[in-house]
């Protein structure tokens, strides 16, 4: 429970700890530190907006030992200089910027549509975490000028491949699903394929760029 260098470790049942840090950048830092040197007994690491869930085998380790191991890795990561190169290849997502909400986003942001596209393709993004649906990655690094609220009336069906904005995130819908994000375009890239390893194209930590693929599909 002790706040150590900005990380708080909370008990989450008998076989998981929830580690809370300041923001998503710190989340990825902690997640990668734990991935690189997985504490004994750890079964699963699940990053989210401000937390990393560390699920463990209670037969192999306990909450106190695990907390110790997490804090050690966190402190070691904090002492290292942040690495600009994450080692992973950048995934380029070609986008046709023809989404039904592009005009709405332009209006909300006070930019014209071309400028929305220019800013969206200008960003260096990283997959922060997955949730909502298999392979749905919340991409961080969105230009603050493009932070727009969700739609007042969510759609019952958003087509797979839709490129979307909501709050501080951008994302690509991996499959048809309901959704309330603002749709600015679509991509033909396959985000989720259970025959692929890993099945998600944009696993947490993956660097991502959007490329304007012109009009048409």
């Amino acid at each position: 429970m002790a706040p150590a260098e900005g990380a708080r470790v909370l008990r989450c049942g008998g076989s998981a700890a929830l580690v809370e840090v300041a923001d998503l950048v710190q989340v990825l830092r902690l997640y990668e530190a734990l991935l690189a040197e997985r504490p004994p007994g750890v079964r699963e690491l699940v990053p989210a907006a401000r937390t990393v869930l560390v699920a463990y085998d209670a037969g192999e380790t306990g909450f106190d030992d695990l907390t110790q191991a997490i804090i050690e890795r966190w402190q070691a990561a904090a002492e290292r200089a942040p690495e600009p190169d994450h080692g992973a290849d950048v995934v380029e997502v070609p986008v046709h910027y023809d989404g039904p909400d592009l005009a709405q986003v332009a209006q909300l942001t006070g930019l014209d549509e071309a400028e929305v596209v220019r800013r969206h393709t200008g960003g260096d993004y990283r997959s922060g975490f997955c949730g909502f649906a298999p392979g749905f990655a919340y991409l961080t690094g969105l230009d603050p000028a493009l932070h727009v609220p969700r739609r007042d009336d969510p759609r019952t069906r958003v087509p797979a491949g839709s490129v979307a904005l909501a709050d501080e995130f951008t994302a690509v819908y991996p499959r048809d699903s309901p959704g309330g994000w603002q749709l600015v375009g679509h991509s033909d890239i396959v985000l989720w394929d259970v025959e692929r390893d890993p099945p998600a194209l944009l696993a947490p930590g993956t660097p991502v760029r959007f490329v304007d693929a012109g009009s048409g599909s």
Partner: protein, 288 residues
């Protein structure tokens, strides 16, 4: 004459799905654990027929399931919520291996208590695995579809050891369900006394209860302040409390992340009991 065996589904009851022990290890990609809601009952059914505990069987909600043995004779076992088990009209025992000849129709009645009954067949159900599991995830849609009339479930033909257990009578589930919990991780998001209230009052299981979660009715739990929690990972057993204050105990097909605070987490071992909680039943929590 076929040399492989299968079960042909004749009736499904409210909901029948294929389940094994789930697909752990993909939560970071947005995939929930899924798998049998009452893991202990599926494991037992598998042991009774000589399968590895992780083999796929059928999870039946509130009985009403029937299937015909196709091709080869089958060895099956029925565990979980206690119901009548009939084969060719004859009444047979639960929690025991049953030899069924080809063409026999196996029928499960409605349980007197409990919610989920499990059917294992020697060899396991050999439907296609997705990410290492044959479980139907009702939230994400991964795995096989929920079972429907006429579906043929192939039975695996792997060589197995002879079953080591003959019969394993199970106690009736307790009428008053008490689930052990550990407080947190977000108990500090609730008003003083909320944890006491969670653990001292009876909660009624709502009819809106499924593999995703057990929704509970009772005096709403009060929040401290009105902050918004950023999405964070949930586990099976997380007791999430949305705005309205009525708790949801997340089950096997829970969403991987959630945006409401978790006041406490049900002990792993007690989630099997929770999986047998019926709508209308009263459930209590006890803090460790």
């Amino acid at each position: 004459m076929r040399d492989s065996g299968a079960l042909e589904v004749l009736r499904t009851g409210a909901l029948a799905t294929v389940q094994d022990l789930g697909r752990p290890g993909y939560a970071h990609l947005g995939v929930s654990g899924s798998g049998a809601a009452d893991r202990g009952s599926l494991r037992l059914a598998n042991r009774l027929v000589g399968n590895p505990e992780s083999a796929a069987g059928v999870e039946v909600v509130l009985g009403g399931f029937a299937a015909r043995v196709l091709g080869r004779p089958a060895v099956v076992a029925v565990t979980g919520a206690r119901c009548s088990v009939r084969a060719g009209g004859r009444l047979l025992a639960m929690d025991s291996p049953l030899q069924l000849s080809a063409d026999t129709v196996l029928e499960l009645g409605a349980p007197e208590a409990g919610l989920r009954t499990y059917l294992a067949v020697r060899g396991g159900l050999d439907v296609a695995a997705v990410l290492g599991s044959r479980s139907t995830d009702t939230l994400s849609g991964l795995g096989p579809d929920a079972l429907g009339e006429g579906v043929e479930l192939p039975v695996g033909t792997e060589e197995l050891e002879a079953p080591s257990v003959d019969i394993a009578p199970q106690p009736h589930p307790p009428a008053d369900l008490v689930l052990g919990v550990r407080v947190g991780p977000r108990d500090d998001w609730f008003a003083d006394g909320a944890v006491d209230q969670l653990c001292s009052t009876g909660w009624q299981v709502s009819s809106d209860t499924d593999r995703v979660g057990i929704r509970l009715d009772g005096e709403p739990l009060e929040r401290r302040g009105d902050g918004e929690l950023k999405s964070e990972a949930m586990v099976r057993g997380s007791i999430q409390v949305p705005r309205g204050g009525r708790p949801i105990v997340f089950g096997a097909d829970h969403p991987v992340t959630g945006g409401y605070p978790v006041i406490a987490v049900v002990d792993h071992d007690d989630m099997d009991l929770a999986a047998q909680a019926r709508p209308g039943q009263t459930l209590r929590f006890r803090a460790r």
